[in-house]
């Protein structure tokens, strides 16, 4: 019985079960390497609320078309983008990193605290298809929060309602 209970609990916490480093196929072959490294576009250009809001923000089709209306305007790679623009149907991206519904994460305060994107997302600029870099378990979050709480004398970093509301 103990094995029956424990085995799935251990399994579910493995990187394998969490799909870490498992690239996700997206509706558009969007390559972060090209956009960040070759073109030098800052993360915040597309993820424009990452410094201030809970959600990092995902670019609208309009923002993509701002460039791709002229850059690669008839490439087959950007065809789904043009279809979205012309038919006014949003692009349904696959979510790579996800938190359960009872955990609340605020990108803005983490960026303000100087936490680098890589700390959770890995080196997205080196990913052809984005994959999960870490299993975002409570353990992953709390390890960091405990250290920060010690070093910065912020009282609230490990209280439950910091993340659970």
């Amino acid at each position: 019985v103990i094995t029956l209970i424990c085995a799935p609990m251990i399994y579910i916490r493995t990187d394998y079960a969490g799909g870490v480093n498992d690239p996700v196929t997206q509706p558009i072959e969007f390559d972060h390497r090209h956009h960040v490294r070759d073109d030098g576009i800052d993360c915040v250009y597309c993820h424009d609320t990452v410094e201030t809001e809970a959600f990092a923000g995902l670019p609208s089709t309009e923002r993509c078309m701002g460039c791709h209306g002229q850059v690669w305007p008839d490439s087959p790679e950007t065809a789904p983008l043009r279809a979205s623009w012309e038919n006014h149907t949003p692009i349904r991206w696959k979510r790579v990193n996800a938190l359960p519904g009872y955990a609340y994460f605020h990108h803005g305060v983490h960026v303000q605290a100087g936490i680098a994107c890589e700390r959770c997302h890995g080196r997205v600029r080196d990913m052809a298809r984005v994959a999960r870099a870490h299993n975002l378990t409570m353990n992953f979050c709390v390890n960091c929060h405990r250290d920060e709480q010690k070093s910065r004398a912020i009282t609230h970093l490990t209280t439950c309602t910091t993340c659970h509301r």
Binding site: I5, T52, A54, W85, P90, T161, H164, R165
Partner: protein
């Protein structure tokens, strides 16, 4: 009464030992898998074109307006990704001044109600609204009858004028609980219907006669605010006199209260008026004194007080009182020089247009369109069915399918106020622009759309409202003021100008008839504080809202005084048969301390058959006919369970909610010091550093109106559980309003929510640390950690913890209302008030991003925002110069169940009443 509509059916499974082990392993895996999903399982869907005001995850607030019985109520709508999730009163709107009412908070649920009507129908077949609109545009000139609630919208007024040029138009403004009597009363003395608005900010003495003006009516929230502003104990504290047949929220904070049958109020007012110098004929006074008997003394005391406060009084008369009583009150106002504003009524036709009776009698009504009301249900005596059948075309336009839908040939789904453009006036005439906060969810039509179709106007509601407001102003110049009005929610300088009218008294005969001796028992019908005239019956939040007085949920009862019940030999929940000349009904009895003798109150709006939520809930009282009538009362066989949220109202000699009088305040206040402060404790002393949160509640100005309770439900995704579960004590409300009645009938309303004890009894019994304390003084409940032992609930002395016995959460349309900043709880976890921690953390996050501290007053809890009187205040313990800071120093403050040493962060201010000193 089953709860199938609320509870999902649980599957029955037979399990062997081997299966049990498999299920255990699978269950653990499934449980854990719920915590972690694989990449790519969910989607992220950005906009194609992002609206400029949109920031992902940040709610956008729009100003809009709701309409009830013709009057506008300004609201601010929080929308998350174009989904309205929460309403609050608009501080700029004169009818609400930022406060809320329970129904106003609950209207958001109607928007997403899965029972909403979705398709237009004509003669049993689905039809499209554009198709029906074309039919209406092609309507040949002829008789046309419109039945709708009272209207104040200038756009609707203009459209009706245009329709009248094409058709023989008759309009019946049908509101079962309308204000026609008040306007007729004004007409009796001023010669024309006027809106009478007392100035409560200047009133030392306020008299409410059969009127629940602090919780009911088109300006209730604003009046409650003005009243509460004069309620601080001291020289300027006002005095409230209430005479009413049933206990109401207004009656609960009365200083002097008389339980008097509603039909005897005319007599009371005659005695008061005569004593104050109004020329009332002597026979009337003698008849009135005979009617009142021993209660004349109360009337004389009231008259003395009114004369003392000459020029600083206010008299509010209930809507169901006959016009003569309203008229007499106006004479009294005039005699005493009371501060009243007389303004032209905001309604298009305050006297109600063509009576609905004419429609019932009409042989050839032509086309009949019933908009946004249910006259077949609310006026059963008229038997409108045959009249509707005689119509060449009968159409019902409504949010839900109801009794009138069944009697009409066609049906069109009505647009919710938040889906369309409206321009209702507040009671003082101020125009509000109601803009949509969401695109129409179905193919719906608004009242303006239907009227526009009748004149063949193809403009949409926005254009019509816009052009109506613009008038002849040039488009460019108007543009800026239109945008400003949309942003503010109100159009500036549109309040009606007070008129100067001299009253003349000319209704002696009618008054004499009111004073004639009576026999029999008074059957008084009243609006339901939750479902109104029945229009909110489909709303599960309002159905489950405990009645402010009886704490009944899901239904109504025959409310009677203990003596009346004793004379009948009935107890709570015994069925009684109530009969008037018009009809009879059978419903359970409920005994209410503070109800008048020989008077039975029955609330309207229940006993409907559609839609599903309202089906079979409560008893329909409309067959009893008039609002105030004589009738008979007899015990019937059997009982019916009344699901109540509070069963006991005695403090049992303890100081749970102390009451003191203004005159004896000096002697009483020192005693309060014994009800607060630290107690000896074995628990380790904790150091509280940094920002600390707390709440203070003034029981002096809590009327029990319950706006906070619904606001909490809307903000915190609280489940509705249905009548059976409520009867089992499983109501989920995080905030309830406890009501205590002492031997003298004095009532205290004490909103009870998690007290956020510094030494919380719940915390040390939790075996898994699912409830814990934050460094800023919040008692935290962690749903994902909770395993549902319910030890905490058992150990909580305030009984504010709620357990999810079933999976009450919804995944249908209704889920669209859920606040995304609050976890939706499921079966098996405990929950309770969090002090709106999502708002606290949200403010902290904003402060961090903007590199500053959290500002004083930045965090407003949902209940605090909703409270029309400002009884609930929330803030930082260290803050200065705010109402909250003042309450933390008020000598009236006390802690609930202080002797237990829980050191709650929530404090109360003791209730102070200001009865008239006996000479």
């Amino acid at each position: 009464m089953t709860d199938d509509r609320i509870l999902p059916l649980l599957p029955r499974v037979e399990v062997t030992r081997r299966d049990a082990l498999k299920l255990l392993a699978g269950g653990v895996a499934a449980l854990e898998a719920g915590c972690l999903e694989k990449p790519g399982e969910r989607e992220l869907v950005p906009y194609v074109i992002e609206p400029p005001e949109h920031r992902a995850g940040v709610p956008v607030r729009y100003a809009s307006a709701l309409t009830l019985d013709g009057f506008g109520y300004g609201v601010l709508v929080d929308t998350h990704e174009a989904r309205p999730t929460k309403l609050d009163g608009n501080p700029a709107h004169p009818a609400v001044l930022g406060g809320s009412l329970a129904w106003l908070q609950a209207r958001i649920l109607d928007l997403y109600d899965p029972q909403r009507s979705r398709v237009a129908q004509l003669r049993g077949h689905d039809a499209a609204w554009p198709h029906l609109a074309a039919k209406l545009r092609a309507l040949p000139p002829g008789p046309l009858w419109l039945v709708m609630p009272p209207q104040s919208s200038p756009t609707i007024g203009a459209l009706l004028g245009r329709i009248a040029r094409h058709h023989q138009l008759r309009v019946s403004y049908h509101a079962p609980l309308g204000r026609t009597n008040a306007y007729r009363g004004a007409e009796l003395v001023y010669g024309k219907p006027l809106e009478v608005r007392p100035d409560l900010s200047r009133a030392d003495v306020v008299v409410a006669l059969d009127s629940d003006f602090l919780a009911w009516g088109p300006a209730a929230a604003a009046m409650a605010r003005a009243f509460a502003a004069r309620r601080a104990p001291g020289d300027r504290m006002n005095r409230l006199w209430v005479a009413e047949p049933m206990q109401t929220p207004t009656g609960t904070i009365a200083d002097e209260r008389l339980a008097l049958p509603a039909r005897d109020l005319a007599a009371l007012l005659v005695v008061v008026a005569q004593a104050c110098g109004v020329a009332v004929p002597n026979p009337s006074v003698r008849a009135a004194e005979a009617r009142l008997g021993g209660r004349v003394a109360w009337a004389r005391r009231l008259a003395t007080d009114l004369k003392r406060a000459r020029g600083a009084g206010a008299i509010v008369v209930g809507d169901r009182q006959p016009p003569e009583v309203h008229a007499l009150a106006r004479m009294l106002d005039h005699e005493l020089g009371n501060p009243v504003a007389l303004t032209p009524p905001a309604l298009l036709d305050p006297l109600g247009g063509t009576p609905l009776e004419d429609l019932a009698r009409e042989a050839n009504p032509g086309t009949v369109i019933v908009l946004d009301c249910d006259p077949v249900y609310t006026a059963p005596r008229l038997h409108l069915g045959p009249a509707l059948a005689r119509a060449t075309l009968s159409l019902h336009v409504g949010l839900f399918r109801n009794a009138t839908t069944e009697a009409c040939a066609g049906h069109v789904p009505l647009a919710h106020d938040l889906e369309t453009w409206t321009d209702p006036r507040a009671v003082d005439g101020t125009l509000a622009i109601g803009q949509p906060a969401i695109r129409e969810r179905f193919e719906v039509a608004s009242i303006i759309d239907v009227l526009a179709a009748l004149v063949g106007d193809r403009n949409d509601a926005r254009t019509l409202v816009h052009d109506q407001l613009r008038g002849d102003a040039p488009l460019e110049a108007f543009d800026a003021s239109w945008t400003a009005a949309l942003r503010a929610g109100v159009v500036p300088n549109t309040a009606a100008q007070p008129t100067d009218a001299q009253p003349t008294w000319r209704s002696n005969d009618a008054l004499a008839a009111l004073l004639a001796p009576t026999s029999g028992i008074e059957i008084a019908l009243a609006p339901s504080p939750s479902v109104h005239d029945g229009r909110f019956a489909p709303n599960a939040w309002l159905q489950e809202l405990p009645h402010p007085i009886t704490k009944q949920t899901w239904g109504n009862a025959a409310l009677m005084s203990p003596a009346t019940a004793q004379s009948l030999g009935v107890e709570n929940e015994d069925l009684v048969r109530v009969a008037t000349r018009a009809g009879e009904i059978t419903l359970p009895a409920m005994i209410v301390t503070g109800a008048a003798e020989r008077s039975v109150t029955i609330e309207l709006g229940f006993g409907q058959h559609a839609p599903a939520i309202a089906d079979g809930i409560g008893t329909d009282a409309y067959p009893l006919g008039d609002f105030l009538d004589e009738g008979s009362l007899a015990r019937a066989s059997g009982t019916r369970r009344i699901p109540r949220s509070q069963l006991w109202t005695s403090q049992e000699g303890r100081d749970l909610a102390p009451v003191m009088t203004l005159a004896h305040l000096r002697h009483e206040l020192p005693k309060m010091a014994e009800l607060r402060g630290p107690q000896p404790s074995l628990l380790p002393e904790r150091q509280w550093r940094g920002v600390q949160w707390g709440m203070s509640i003034d029981t002096s100005i809590c009327t029990g109106c319950s706006a906070c309770e619904i606001a909490c439900v809307a903000e915190n995704n609280i489940a509705t559980v249905g009548p059976t579960e409520v009867a089992r004590g499983r109501i989920m409300h995080w905030l309830r309003i406890d009501r205590y009645v002492d031997d003298g009938g004095r009532i205290v309303n004490e909103p009870m929510l998690c007290q956020h004890c510094e030494d919380a009894p719940c915390e040390y019994v939790c075996p898994v640390n699912a409830t814990d304390h934050s460094p800023d003084g919040l008692n935290e409940q962690v749903y994902n950690r909770c395993i549902g032992t319910r030890f905490c609930q058992n150990n909580c002395p305030y009984k504010v913890r709620r357990f999810n016995w079933f999976a009450f959460e919804k995944d249908d349309d209704r889920a669209l209302q859920y606040n995304p900043d609050v976890t939706v709880r499921s079966r098996g976890v405990m929950e309770k008030c969090s002090y709106c921690v999502q708002r606290i953390r949200g403010a902290e996050h904003r402060a961090i991003v903007e590199k500053r501290e959290v500002k004083v007053g930045e965090v407003v809890t949902a209940c605090q925002a909703a409270c029309p009187t400002g009884a609930i205040q929330f803030g930082q313990l260290a803050e200065q110069g705010t109402p909250f800071a003042a309450m933390r120093r008020d000598p009236r403050r006390f802690e609930a169940l202080h002797d237990l040493g829980t050191r709650p962060r929530t404090q109360y201010l003791a209730k102070v009443v200001n009865p008239k000193e006996e000479p």
